[in-house]
Symmetry: D2
């Protein structure tokens, strides 16, 4: 069935599978010590404008979030995040499982504001009883956010400034980073992110890979990080699976090109919805579009195309998500349009 359910419904970009096949019978050392992990890391450092960053490839986003937070925080520190942040609501307690509290901040279309971070930390340390409370030890943001919105250069600079002022790392979850960078409204580059964040990851799973996220420590990495990956059960024996994929994604700008496809298709998708008088829950410049459907209409539509439930809007209507991706085609958009026309 036609599906806009998520950006991970397809396999991998064919170029990645091709390279996996071509390199398949070369013996390579395990655990990320293969030549493709090395090469991919070097290409990513270059794309980020970094000379020395430590780069690791991890199989998925929740795993990466848990690892970063657990390895960079002291045991009594928590992570500041928007109440809508992925680490707060949709990771089944993976952060708490590793012993850390998620300290929530107000969200504005999914985003965190620098002034809220500053106030939280100032209030915390001016509270006489703060030694009985969880210390704020890191700021987590997602870019794009869970609502598809993006930070501007100025917003990220402010967040970075506040974090550095308070000596805590700024961590950017880039599970869909390609789509944020490709957004027309974006004035942020990968190099800006590398310069302003202390740690971030470039998402592969949702941007053309079978699995995998490239984790970049722009400043200091935690000591013995490989051991921490292993301890979390997250160290793949065949690290080449991730290395080959990221090496391909960062060859000839493939990562950026395929991200652009998702944005172009999202724009067309928005036009289709607008033309059919469907309203938006939020203005998203990236590949996730959140629309409001009448419950009756939603049920009928769900018989013909797949999409995701997001949240109840009110008694009569529901917010649902349609996602484009690197793989979305014009043909799929035409099919959706035909379905909507038929339902009029």
């Amino acid at each position: 069935m036609l599906s806009f359910e998520s950006d991970y419904i397809m396999g991998a970009h064919p170029q990645l599978l091709k390279r996996l096949s071509e390199t398949n019978m070369q013996p390579q050392p395990g655990y990320g010590n293969d030549e493709y992990c090395m090469s991919a890391a070097e290409k990513i450092r270059k794309a980020c404008g970094l000379n020395k960053a430590d780069i690791y490839f991890i199989s998925g986003g929740t795993q990466t979030n848990q690892l970063v937070i657990d390895s960079m925080l002291r045991s009594y520190e928590g992570v500041l995040a928007a109440e809508t942040g992925h680490v707060n609501g949709h990771e089944a307690g993976a952060i708490e499982y590793s012993g850390h509290k998620v300290l929530t901040l107000p969200q504005y279309e999914g985003k965190v504001r620098a002034e809220d971070v500053d106030r939280y930390i100032n209030d915390f340390f001016s509270d006489e009883n703060h030694s009985h409370m969880v210390f704020p030890g890191m700021v987590y943001i997602s870019h794009p956010t869970e609502y598809g919105t993006i930070y501007s250069l100025s917003e990220l600079e402010k967040l970075s400034h506040v974090c550095r002022k308070h000596h805590i790392p700024l961590f950017l979850d880039g599970a869909r980073l390609g789509y944020a960078l490709a957004a027309e409204e974006s004035d942020l580059t990968l190099k800006d992110i590398a310069r302003l964040c202390d740690v971030f990851y470039i998402g592969g799973t949702k941007v053309g890979a079978l699995c995998g996220e490239a984790l970049i420590f722009t400043q200091n990495k935690p000591e013995n990080f490989i051991t921490m990956i292993k301890q979390h059960g997250a160290l793949l024996a065949k690290g080449r699976l991730l290395g080959v994929q990221f090496d391909t994604l960062f060859t000839d700008n493939l990562y950026f090109k395929i991200s652009e496809n998702a944005i172009e298709k999202a724009q067309k998708l928005k036009n289709i919805f607008e033309n059919h008088g469907i309203s938006f829950h939020i203005k998203s410049p990236t590949n996730q579009q959140f629309i409001i459907l009448d419950n009756e209409f939603m049920k009928r539509l769900a018989e013909k195309v797949r999409f995701s439930f997001w949240e109840k809007k009110d008694e009569k209507s529901t917010v649902v998500r349609f996602a484009t991706s690197w793989a979305t085609t014009d043909k799929e958009l035409q099919q959706l349009e035909a379905i909507l026309n038929d339902m009029k």
Copy 2:
């Protein structure tokens, strides 16, 4: 360079890559709800002679060990394992990270004896102070063991009997299960294992897959196990990556056929070593061969072929491991033989 370093130096069996390519552009739901995970699970149930077992696909062995132990034990219970068990020494504390102690038993060529399990549990509960101690809550065995040795049907029956007598689950780590089943000395079938163990896994990473282990709960699975996988950071968005691979491995007996290749090549490898007067640290019927090399000779050999350091034998000699796999060829063995001949 010629390499017998491990059984995970190559990519995947080409048939798996082919199927990944063929199914690549089919939209599939995420998180293991795709049709390939379903189909693979059904084929595995059939191969195991089980009607109802719950089956999950996890990306790697340490992750699987941590998940099984953490989800099946109460917080104050530990897992009984051989002191040489993988969970005790080579998982960077992944079990303790999840809060559980590994309770060690003596090992006999890497194996655990039923009578030691029985004695441990009897002694534990007869100790007046046992409420101040970690309860034995599960038995972990690896098959083949870390030394390549295998349990006989009779040994596994005894272990199963003891575990059921004491109402604790028997967990078999089958990271290299194919190689154990294919061993000539083996009188154990997959159906025996499914009948005698409460939980076990069929290793993919070391037996032809890019990554992935098929985890089988033969009795009761922990409630909401998907949530526990997510909480551990171990839930792949594109579950199809594992589903397609295991569906292929369990089509036309591919898993068993490629396992046999490793055993056949290991036999030839043993012959080569014997012919060159090299002695064995242990008699292994599977794909891992542990030989004793004079340190000087070892250094020279290491310039021409890759293998793994295992442990110091004494001041002058070292135990090293040579591993064959589904991918090992006769040509590679001939190359090794030529190298050894040259070094005489």
Copy 3:
């Protein structure tokens, strides 16, 4: 200096110290197996109207909260609590340290509403993605709350009803339970609480003891709870220290009598503040009184009497807490009044 800083600034009620001295040189078994723990448990069961409840004595409140939550929840479950609940903000992450998330609910003068619990759980299970989220596994309330407010019988009945409907335990943190029961506005008895909650504790530390909380499982206790106490590092060798104190507190209604003193003195304290035109942040019927002070006045007052900072009210004023206790005397209140008169 005169102090209303908290209800734990004094030692113990003299009767408790007397009994500790009288029983001091009797040999007693350790770890809660002494005759005083047994006797205290029996007296508490009687006071609660329970025949069979399991009762344990734990050294402090945070320890007890952590133990109850960790022992009664599955690893992927969290605890529902008011955002102002002690477990959420003032236990330095003790709940997350044991792996569990605190799932916050709106608070109404520190209290949780049954309808909010019901809605949370219904929404949770109707969310298609709930397997990726932390399951609500328990409701935590404090009585009196962190703001000194108390639940009515009707409110507690509704909470109990909702919890039982959804098959999750209701846990009442009674660190200051005596003061709630003694409040004039209270229509709840200890027997009501024992009937309506699945687990709760009767606070000793803040109600006349040197340390200790009596933890009561009214329904089923977790298996091997002693082992869990030990595992948490919370098992006192000399359990008699807690047993003797609670045995004394529950002899001749001492616990209730000394609680009444705190309430009587709190009423007088309120009158003094009212007479001096000081306004209240919240209407509290128990021993903690939250008043609003002009910052300048607050500084001057702090030179003459101790109280606790609570929170910033606005730029010019602050909420502070004055606490009475079992030990507060009329003389102390007269001193306070004199100080306030002097400052006019």
Copy 4:
């Protein structure tokens, strides 16, 4: 009944109860900020010959062990301990609960040898695969050991030297430290211990206090340690309970005097056993005596005096423990002698 069951069967030394009563109605700040904690810490620093050590009072030994190990180790580090160490076998997994593995070393009458520590660490770092293993991050010893034996000055110097060479802390569990220092064979002083260990504690629970251990960081303490105590649920509101007791124990050498009583009585106890032809399992110079009893005789004796089961010796006999303490009297020893005479 006459009891030599343990050194925690009695309450507290009467002098401690007296001081608790005398100071009872003085208002004191909570959480260890009272004047008695301050004063006790100063007296302990002086007794230790330390100028600046950070000192904390914790309610019990397992709690202290868990806190020290968890706060000083990185998450992927474990603690080296004798296989008979308390942290390994008798703390219900408290160390693993906090995420750390106990790495066992051979024991020699309960003691660890410096050369074994050195070899373990050297072997660890020379193992090519050590990044997949738990790092040795600390050495734990108990003094006296679980078998009542003590380290000599020379042994402790060697351990300290090895630890400092490898840059890991040496942690001494002094739950019964007074009895070790008072032993006639001892050539170690408290100042030696403070000079040679990085962290250690002076046990109160088993040496005259109702509860409490004085924890001393001789070098650097972990940052925000109070928050870690709170997070572990271990911060007593009325820290004065521990402060007053330790202040009293370290006034007029009381701690040392009462420890001497235990040793003097243990010597008489040994004589009694020797005179009755009862043999010893181990030669213990401190207050715990381990004797071997014929099972039949043991049962008869248990009807008249309490002692502790230790371990099975063989089919016919059992090792049991008799403990003296600060409270043991000559009269009790005479009663024991009379019982043994009667049983001849």
